[in-house]
Amino acid sequence: MTPVAERQEPFVAAYERLKTSQSIGPAWLRDARAAAMRQFAERGFPTTRHEDWRFTNISPIAETVFAPSGPAPTAAQIAAHLFAEAKPYVAVIAGGRFAPELSSLDGLPDGVFVGSLAAALGSTSDRLQPALAQIAVGDHPFVWLNTALFEDGVLVRVPANTVLDRPIQIHIASDAATDPTVSHPRVLISAGDNSQCSLIESYGGPEGQTYFTNAVTEAVVAPGAIVHHVKVQRESRKAFHVAGTFARLGRGAVFSSHNISLGGGIVRNDISALMDGEGAEATLNGLYLADGDRLVDNHTVIDHATAHCPSHELYKGVLGGKARAVFNGKIFVRQDAQKTNAKQTNKALLLSDDAQINTKPQLEIFADDVKCTHGAAIGQLDEDALFYLRARGIGRLDARDLLIRAFAGEVLQQVQPAAIHDRLEALMLDALPRG
């Protein structure tokens, strides 16, 4: 096995290069990057001895030498990932950098900014300081890596009292060419008081290529704001995808996250919502599919730091082949968070005998006047239902797809914007384990 220090070396070298370039950013960011790099260098990649990584062996990531970035994707490659039916404003990140030539942001309402994060750091750095690298915090080596190494990304800023008429799609494209590549895309969403917006964050790269996407998205949802976020992950089935979505909700804010994970070889999602103001409401839903020897790990955190906040969580998975999945759902209810109402459900369908899921709800409750429920169900397709469908003339595979569609529908039907429901369902059916 490669010594730990050696495996980290390419990342340390990338950081040293970044330090001497413009992309390092303003002084406060430089400090944050230095601290993050220091933590990563000390701790290194997580191993399965680390509680949060117990069932997720990321050594294939740690042992791969990645080139910094691959060729730029073509407009046609991007087009296949765009949700045109929702008429989104489109911002593309390719190889970790905002790609204006592939984006289409015409017609954004006055005061709304969607564009290069690096450029914004150059011009309006002070306004980003309270948010950037302030929400994605905690003990997470890949987040440290992203914070230390991101060169660019996308900033979405919606001013107070502004309601966006169309969704914003941020597409994060990767391409590997000959050698595996790595990128650290960074997204910051800042939704002002009583504003409203809907975001589609999509990921993809050419099928069959090995690359590593290490992404972090932070969202500041100011008091009274409504932010709907859907992540559609369709990476190459040989790609590594490690990504975090971290939201901080102010008083009366509403945040919904739909984490739709269809591709990738090793996938780790961290989705987290901090209820930082009374009456905030969060929904963290997810749907994941895997087959072959793929792995998908979803870790969620809902941190009820303030009182009177409802939260809803529904995760569903469909696993075939020898696929493995992990679901870990943490719900913290702090001492002051009275009248919390938290509900968590996770369900998985195992289509084969060799598919496996490790699931762990983790509720830590320090307040006494709260309502928290959780439930987990893991099972096979309902044989009685399957037979009923077949006895009416529907073929075995079609019957199976119908049942899976019904199972997944509970999550997909809640996605905002609703205009992408049909497309998501079609993408899900395409990604279903076969045989």
């Binding site: 239902a385 037979f387 006895a391 009416r392 529907i394 073929g395 119908l402 049942l403 569609r405 529908g409």
Partner: protein, 252 residues
């Protein structure tokens, strides 16, 4: 002949339930299969529909001259065999009308017919729904989910009306129905009687046969047909119960 069952033996959970059943059904005929609990009535119905829990260990079944037992359940359905379930399955998340359209189009495709589009299908089901007094909400709800017992059975016959099978097998369709629901279901079934459609009506009680009057009645006991006759046999059973059968069996 539409259906010819010869010496059918069927096992369920390692126990032999049917021990050599013979039955011949011509188009246009309605056959009632009666018998006490555990006699194998439902096993016969389920084996004919291809339920995976029932293992055929002997005999043969010819349907339109073809080996029915060699067909997958979906192929039996596409060839015109329909089973009205004793316990219709609830399927959350699948819209009843959508499901039925998929089923009908699978059958039509199999028969080389054009698939129906949404509008054609809606026109068709509106008409079929009238006889069974199905209201619109039963179409748009998930298949059988939250349906009352009577609604489930009506839905089964509604499926049958839409799919227009050649052979319909009704597995204890009367169980759990009050008299009003029984009348509605029976009307639905009777509306589907035709010279080229046969039915096998499995029931424990004669009550259903007041409304769906059979051409033939067969009594199943301990896995065999022990007596066959006309519709008057059902009345005789009603009067005498099934105990005479068991005594007869004990005497053998």
């Amino acid at each position: 002949m539409l259906l010819e069952i010869k010496g059918l033996r069927v096992k369920a959970e390692d126990k032999e339930i049917l021990k050599g059943v013979d039955l011949r059904v011509n188009p246009g005929e309605v056959h009632a299969i009666m018998g006490p609990n555990g006699s194998g009535k439902s096993t016969l119905a389920r084996a004919l529909s291809g339920h995976p829990d029932y293992e055929v260990t002997g005999g043969e079944v010819l349907y339109n001259g073809k080996d029915l037992l060699a067909m997958e359940p979906e192929d039996r359905a596409r060839e015109g065999v329909f089973m009205a379930f004793q316990y219709p399955v609830e399927i959350p998340g699948i819209n009843n009308a959508y499901f039925l359209k998929a089923a009908l189009n699978a059958v039509r495709k199999h028969n080389g017919e054009e698939e129906l589009d949404a509008l054609e299908f809606m026109t068709l089901i509106k008409e079929k729904a009238k006889v069974l007094e199905m209201d619109q909400s039963m179409m748009s709800r998930s298949v059988n989910e939250g349906f009352s017992g009577g609604e489930k059975k009506r839905n089964e016959i509604f499926h049958m009306a839409v799919l227009e099978p050649k052979l319909a097998i009704l597995d204890e369709t009367d169980s759990g129905l009050d008299i009003d629901a029984l009348k509605i279901v029976s009307n639905g079934v009777n509306a589907l009687r035709s010279p080229d459609r046969a039915m096998i009506v499995v029931t424990h009680y004669q009550r259903l046969l007041n409304y769906i009057v059979p051409d033939f009645v067969h009594v199943l006991s301990e896995g065999r047909i022990v007596k066959s006759g006309g519709k008057e046999l059902a009345l005789e059973l009603e009067a005498k119960g099934y105990t005479w059968l068991e005594q007869g069996a004990a005497a053998r």
